[in-house]
């Protein structure tokens, strides 16, 4: 499992390099044609499932496992809204508001990340393949617990444009939620929670 996640991260990193390398160029990219110009906007809705994966203990005491599966947590639901505005060909900046809910054996976990989002669309009309990165803060509750943590969510999608304005497709998004304590009694409880979101999406271009 860990090797797969590492592979995914490497892939995302490589793709990101391409994104910035292409920024500003007006030529076709290697997958298709330039489709989105500066000033165009997208609005998307997501709904799907979120899978608890594991936690990474960043300050685990000696003799304890660093990576532990999140077996106490069930499959959850996720939904979200995203708005983006293209600032270069196929490259957008925007805002993302997402909410996820799941349950453990005794409590409900909810995370509501509010993120800045940036992404790049690879086009092969009528298909398009965005990669994106949401970074922001997540408002997390678990029973009586509440905390605000950073939230980093890289993702990729595969959409089919059913009209010139509407596209539908699938997103896969990885959630890194670090809850890190630098001092105090909780340092050894510092964890990075990892989730995988799989969702259906509808995108409106305007």
């Amino acid at each position: 499992m860990n090797r797969k996640i590492l592979l995914l991260l490497c892939l995302l990193t490589l793709l990101s390099v391409n994104v910035f390398a292409k920024d500003g160029e007006q030529t076709d990219d290697y997958l298709g044609v330039t489709a989105y110009s500066p000033g165009e906007q997208i609005f998307s809705l997501n709904a799907g499932a979120i899978i608890p994966l594991f936690t990474i203990a960043t300050a685990a005491p000696d003799g304890t496992d660093i990576i532990n599966p999140l077996i106490s947590t069930n499959l959850g639901i996720v939904g979200g809204l995203k708005w983006g505005s293209f600032i270069a060909d196929n490259f957008y900046l925007g805002i993302d508001l997402t909410g996820m809910f799941t349950s453990s054996s005794t409590r409900t976990l909810s995370m509501i990340p509010i993120s800045f989002t940036t992404g790049y669309y690879f086009i092969a009309w009528p298909f398009e393949f965005p990669i994106y990165l949401n970074t922001g803060f997540s408002f997390n509750t678990l029973g009586d617990y509440f905390t605000i943590t950073p939230c980093i969510r890289p993702g990729l999608g595969a959409y089919w444009n059913i009209t010139e304005e509407w596209a539908v497709g699938l997103n896969a998004e990885y959630w890194f939620i670090p809850e890190i304590y630098f001092s105090g009694n909780y340092v050894e409880q510092s964890l990075i929670a990892n989730f995988l979101q799989i969702s259906l999406t509808g995108v409106f271009h305007f």
């Binding site: 453990s104 005794t106 617990y145 905390t147 605000i148 943590t149 809850e179 409880q189 964890l191």
Partner: protein, 376 residues
Amino acid sequence: MKYIKYAILLTAAVLAFSCVDNPSGLFYSLQYESEIIDGELDNGLTIGDMAMRNAYYFIASGAFRYKAVDGTTWSVSTPIDAAGYSCYKLINLDEIYAIFFHTDTLDYKLFKAVTTAVSTDVITWSEIVIADIPTDERLIDIAQSGGRLFLYTEKTVSVVSGNDKRYSVYSTDATSLAAGTGLVDELDSLDSYGELDVDYDGANYWLISGNKLYSGLSGALVEDTAAAEASALILENGYGGVYCHGTDVYLSTDEGVLLKYTGGAWTDLTGAASLNRIFDIERVTIASESIDVLLLGSEKGYYELDLGAAAPVFTSPETADTKLSTPVQFASIELSNDVIRSFFFDTDNNRIFALGYNAGLWENSLQANGRFWNVE
């Protein structure tokens, strides 16, 4: 540059607000949350009382329920003459005695449950009519300690204004109780109502009723004001519970104060702790570790006092590891927010039960390799 400044300010503001006082890390709590065993009993029940007899547990929980000590299924038994009545109190005094209450008529009935054949799910009920209770008084509560049953009665008196209820306390032993006679007058015409709790220190009975504490031999109970005077108690709601361990007497108040009497004087064990309203007291011995812990039921979970510590302080599992739970487990179970009015300690099987108010029955098996609460 301007946007970067705003982003830094926003980040700082969010991080400042993120400093929330959780008892542990949120994801840490999630990661190490243990799955509790949730039995078939309704977790919203109010458990008024609990007893054990003939390897069966009995609870007064609206219905009179019982199950085998090692069983999982709770059965209900109701005396024929108590149809429509609810059971909220029971005791074990050579047999199980249960008090049934009719919510419409406010009528109370006391029954004896002969449980010798309980293993075949047969309970023989017989109503106990105590002829010695004056006809203008009605039985409303029972408690048991030191081999005696204490009965609490209520009557209505004529007054110009104010409280027209008066309460009396009687006691009897098992033999007399079975015969329905032989009541001993303990206290008469009390005007306060509240928790009725009694315990026996081997020589004297200690009884609380409302905001009064009484002590002495059966039939010679006298009001004891030393506890209230010693600690300048403000007893707005009264005492919460009384508990004897040997000659030590523990006394809790609804205002969150715990007192201890060791024969000389009352001392306040509360110290600097700021406790919620506290109720019943129970002392638990964890045999495997020779640990004695004092438990205090509270309107929000319970407190522990490790009596083996050099300087015992009240601890809630909400904030620190305790002998019976951990913050991670405690935060993940409803018990942490429940009202726990009393406990039942099964010394034979080394189990402690926390009796919830609209919160079911919680059980901790006091295992040496990790103690966790499960719910029946």
